[in-house]
Amino acid sequence: MTRFLLRRFLHMIPTVGGVLLITFILFNLVGGSPALMTLGDKATPLQLEEFDEVRGFNRPLLFGWRGPTRALPFTDFTQSLGPWSAWPEATLDSRGFLSLPGPATVELPLAFLLFPNATYELKVRYRSDQPVKVHHAMLPAASDWQVQTLRIEAGDTADERRIRMKVEGTRFELAEVDLFRRMDSPWHSQFTYYLRHLARLDFGVSHSANEPVIDLLKSGIVPTLLLATPILFGELLISVVFALICARYRNRWPDRLLLVLSVALMSVNYLVWIVAGQYLLAFKLGWFPVWGFESWHYLLLPVLIGTLHGLGSNIRFYRTVMLDEMYKDYVRTAFAKGAGEARVLFRHVLPNAMIPVITNVVLSLPFLYTGSLLLESFFGIPGLGYLSVNAIHSSDVDVVRAVVLIGSVLYVVANLIADLLYAWVDPRVRLS
């Protein structure tokens, strides 16, 4: 058993690793800047950059030397010069580049001074009849379009934190320009930053709430469990009872009726349950509050709806489980020995069917945690589902990522428990 446990435990590692990787890749590609969302639209680029610096968003994604910076926001010459028009005599060529007659000394239109003692990379596509001095580096002369990347070492003083260009020749043309932050090490990436923080159970900061994600999760877990636990067990109890009835009267009218009913229940969209429940039971009849989470009776309606919704598929599942059991030899033997139907059902079938039932319950435990997204967001139960839906609406990446990640890890763990349960009940499993 110990060896099995160990082996099974080792199996978890690649899965968890996969989940980490997938969630990271998925969420760090999302559009919209967390900095902008947190600081509002009156924030300056510098404030945004500082925010990114603290939260590690200005690093390469997985691996690499280059991170983004907001210091040079306007780099597209296809339509206008934007702030580059501050360069005296600079003109926009209709073919999409900036043209500057020389000789001239100009300064790049940075949104703010470069960070002191940081290293940047300036990538340009240009033409020039003479070399151009940029900061402390040199762009060689280029008769045709050429791409060059220069290292810019920002110093301490304000003067050293600007980028000056000294054009010696008669004409300097700039088609593309990009400024990057150069990292001290290619491992200084968002991914390693993420893993390092995860190891400390730091799930990041929600940009819409401006609070650590872990605090949001903690405050959301209680309402979620209060809602999801009764649904889980209510559903289990009711559907097992109905499944037993089906098994008892298999292929006779109660079974048929329940089957038809459960297919019908399954076919009603979750939304319809919720909308109708809120409108009829809460609003029209006034039996339940419409929305909110002030006391326990605010939970009644969501629990009722959640239970009803899951009932259809659960009855069918447990019915199959019971019937599978009914056709086994020992049941036939029991019947042959003349045992009563009820006795067979409760003494033989039910205990044996408990294994798949319990497995099913264990496997649905992780869903307790994400709760019912729709129920929570609709009825205003401030749990993790409510949190997640809001987070998705406001592109709150850190929150969604944390919820997904923890949900996945719980699922992996639940799987492990289910497997162990099987192995414990049926020793043959351990050998396979």
Binding site: P14, T15, G18, V19, I22, T23, L26, F27, L29, V30, G31, V263, A264, M266, S267, V268, N269, Y270, L271, V272, V275, A276, Y279, F283, S313, R316, F317, T320, P366, F367, T370, L373, L374, S377, S388, V389, I392, H393, S395, V400, R401, V403, V404, G407, S408, V409, Y411, V412, N415
Partner: protein, 297 residues
């Protein structure tokens, strides 16, 4: 056992379904919806070619909240748009989602499932790792997250649902292929010196194709449900009358007794999902009673 112990040919499937009374009704219902969806598609395409505003988008502010009656059989909505016409478009979108997500999920699932089941070893390990990883991520959140990344709109829905639901298909196909790979007909093909891919896709795949049909009927209603849900939350379809959007709109005036939009949309969703669920059951019974309801949403 020989190669011809294979399962009912496709023609057989249809005749089995047609013979059952209930499944015949279901087939007719699905057929009806398909026609409606195609009509919606033509309607939409026609207006696109003509470069005009489709009738289902036409707002008539003096015709707001008209109850069902002549002119508007199913009534009008908050902007005086015809509920019936919008329902047709909702059907179109639901079918698009059902079909396109299947076209994404099923090929991925089948390909990976076949490879894993046939080659076993390293290939199997990698694919099992991939689908275990995907299966571990909470389904709905995963879909919503992908949609959030891709951006709102149909593309987000297609990719969100398509890229997460191949797992079930993959698992079923893998199990079936594993059963077949040691069967005599496969072994004799191998003795004849046929290439692996030829054996896999020309000989084994046709014998496990019933899994694909069952998987399709199971995931079709599930993806419709997910689409309705996502559009309701405002993450799904944009600017087009999806069923989810219609339900959300219909709620606004329910308190005043504007019942028609809600009722008709609800019924439309219910009947198509019911028909598919019943068909799925019938198919499963006909094709392979051992396949269990392992796929739910």
């Amino acid at each position: 056992m020989s190669a011809n112990e294979t399962l009912p040919a496709r023609k057989g499937v249809w005749s089995i379904l047609w013979r059952g009374r209930l499944s015949r009704v279901c087939l007719l219902v699905v057929g009806f919806y398909t026609v409606v969806a195609l009509a919606g598609e033509f309607h939409c395409a026609w207006h696109k070619i003509q470069d005009t505003l489709p009738t289902y988008q036409r707002q008539q502010l003096d015709q707001r909240f008209q109850p069902p009656g002549p002119g508007h059989w199913l009534g009008t909505d908050a902007l005086g748009r015809d509920v019936g016409l919008r329902l047709v478009q909702g059907t179109r979108i639901a079918f698009r989602v059902g079909i396109i997500t299947s076209l994404i999920a099923i090929p991925i699932g089948v390909l990976l499932g076949c490879l894993a089941g046939y080659f076993r070893g390293r290939v199997d390990d990698v694919i099992v790792w991939l689908y275990t990883t995907f299966a571990s991520i909470p389904g709905l959140l995963f879909i919503l997250a992908i949609a959030m990344v891709v951006g709102k709109g149909l593309l987000g829905i297609y990719l969100g649902i398509g890229l997460t639901t191949w797992v079930g298909v993959c698992r079923l196909i893998r199990a079936e292929v594993m059963k077949h790979r040691d069967r005599p007909y496969v072994q004799s093909a191998r003795v004849l010196g046929l290439g692996h891919f030829r054996i896999l896709f020309r000989h084994i795949l046709p014998n496990v194709s019933h899994v694909i049909i069952v998987a399709f009927t199971l995931r079709f209603p599930a993806s419709i449900g997910t689409e309705v849900f996502m559009s309701f939350l405002g993450i799904g379809v944009q600017g087009e009358p999806s069923w989810g959007i219609m339900i959300n709109n219909a709620r606004l005036r329910l308190w005043e007794g504007v019942w028609w939009e809600m009722t008709f949309v609800t019924l439309a969703v219910f009947f198509i999902v019911l028909a598919f669920n019943l068909l799925g059951d019938a198919l499963r019974d006909a094709l392979d009673p051992r396949l269990q309801a392992t796929e739910e949403g």
